[in-house]
């Protein structure tokens, strides 16, 4: 773990159970490491070193991140992950059982599932609170932004090459051509860019980085990300690499905007590649 990183265990505030009055947790009142720069600051005031705004409770909830309660945060992340995947798995069973290959037939259940994912991730975010990573220097952030188009292009080439090789090896039949409506594009490109990035790159990566090194956190959140694509198990090795790229974009850019944009462009390119001439219509 990097020294001075917000995930370091130095100066942890005591847990709420140690507060004899049962009121506001003791650790909140005293100085604790700033979530952004790691230097001591009062959570009720802006950080004097990096000017991070005060960590105010969200809607009166006691935010776990504010209490530095790493195990509870971890449990919520895992619970959220399972609650996302179990309905997806059950929907998959119905899809296989009905043997209806027309994607449009499943549009409404998929829409409901994605709305569920969105609300679930928002709920977990509300419980966990802000899990901010240490911001890298301005130079590093600029470099990452500048290099990101090249990285994205490399990952897209890898995507095509991997799936061509896979198709060649197992001689899979051609995929069913989908009617790419605006709703499908929103479901396939916009929703994952927002919800998956919020869950895997913000909540999971942020939570894991508090209990392990930043690289381990990126790698494990990528494992989570790839295993979440249960509908395409043969694509998981590629998805793991794509998750690594998005994870490092998150760490290197110091924010969630770049991985969100990269994820959106990635999925949009895949839609364009699959839709072919239909794209023009």
């Amino acid at each position: 773990m990097e020294p001075g990183y917000p995930n370091s265990f130095e100066g942890l505030p005591p847990g709420p159970s140690e507060n004899p009055t049962g009121g506001e947790p003791q650790g909140v009142a005293g100085p604790s490491p700033c979530q952004r720069c790691g230097l001591p600051s009062d959570p009720a005031l802006p950080c004097p070193h990096c000017l991070l705004p005060p960590r105010i409770p969200f809607s009166g909830l006691t935010l776990l991140a504010r209490e530095e309660n790493h195990y509870q945060i971890f449990k919520w992340i895992i619970a959220g992950y399972v609650l996302q995947l179990v309905p997806a798995m059950v929907l998959g069973w119905f899809m296989v059982k009905e043997k209806n290959p027309d994607p449009d037939h499943w549009q409404f259940p998929i829409l409901i599932l994605e709305i569920w994912d969105f609300l679930l991730v928002l709920g977990i975010w509300g419980i966990v609170g802000r899990v901010i990573l240490k911001k890298p220097s301005k130079g590093v952030r600029w470099t990452v932004w500048l290099v990101s188009p090249l990285l994205l292009a490399a990952v897209l080439v890898l995507n095509i090459a991997y799936h061509m090789a896979l198709r060649e090896f197992v001689e899979l039949p051609e995929e069913i051509k989908q009617n790419w409506t605006l709703l499908w594009i929103a479901l396939a490109a916009v929703q994952p860019a927002l919800v998956e990035e919020l869950f895997f790159r913000y909540l999971a990566l942020g939570a894991f980085s508090r209990i392990m090194g930043i690289h381990a956190a990126v790698w494990i959140s990528s494992v989570l990300f790839s295993l979440a694509h249960i509908y395409s198990p043969l694509s998981m090795p590629y998805l793991f690499l794509a998750g690594l790229m998005l994870g490092y974009l998150r760490v290197g850019s110091g924010g969630l905007l770049l991985p969100m944009v990269a994820h959106f462009l990635h999925n949009l390119f895949v839609i364009w590649y699959e839709a072919g001439p239909q794209w023009m219509n």
Partner: protein
């Protein structure tokens, strides 16, 4: 909250411990020994799951042809005899075999990863337990999607394994903290 990482031993916050730089004796060492025991159990779970996963899928790897034939028989069951041209059947069987090789091979690799995580659990307690739990949960959900029967098979044992690994993560976080607090700060 009873399972707050700081109140396990009831000896005050970790920051206090670190500042005081206490020796690993008395109640602190007892709590650490208990965490070590939980990690030992987690090591057993990970190695057991790893060996089981590797052995079962290695067997699946060598029985790919038989499994492919069974799958083909299931697919064409109910169709009139001779309705499917033999060359199409042979092609479908070859595809099935390749997919079984891919999935079994990857799952044997997963088993080996579990064993490695079990072996290194004391060196990297948090990474080993978190990754073990993530891979176990994710693997079960993926295989549950591919074959619903595998999801419900041995569900009680699976729940016990997940609970054991979740508890192990809690112990690993506290164990790692304690280890860090015992390490003298550089330059002091």
């Amino acid at each position: 909250m009873p399972d707050h990482p700081n109140d396990e031993s009831g000896l005050g916050s970790l920051s206090e411990k670190k500042n005081a730089n206490p020796p690993a004796t008395g109640l602190g060492s007892l709590a650490q020994a208990a965490r070590g025991k939980t990690l030992g159990t987690a090591r057993g779970i990970l190695i057991f799951v790893g060996v089981l996963t590797a052995v079962v899928n290695l067997a699946g790897f060598f029985m790919a042809e038989k499994s492919a034939q069974e799958a083909i028989d299931m697919e064409i069951k109910g169709l009139p005899r001779g309705n499917v041209p033999p060359e199409i059947l042979a092609e479908a069987k070859a595809t099935y075999i390749k997919i079984i090789y891919l999935i079994s091979g990857a799952t044997v690799g997963l088993g080996v990863v579990f064993i490695i995580l079990g072996i290194f659990i004391y060196q990297i307690p948090v990474v080993a337990t978190v990754l073990g739990l993530v891979l176990y949960l994710g693997g079960n959900l993926v295989f549950g999607f591919l074959d619903p029967a595998t999801f419900v098979k041995g569900v009680i044992i699976k729940i016990l394994i997940v609970v054991g690994l979740v508890k192990a993560v809690q112990s690993a976080i506290a164990y790692q903290k304690e280890m860090k607090s015992q390490t003298p700060v550089e330059g002091s």
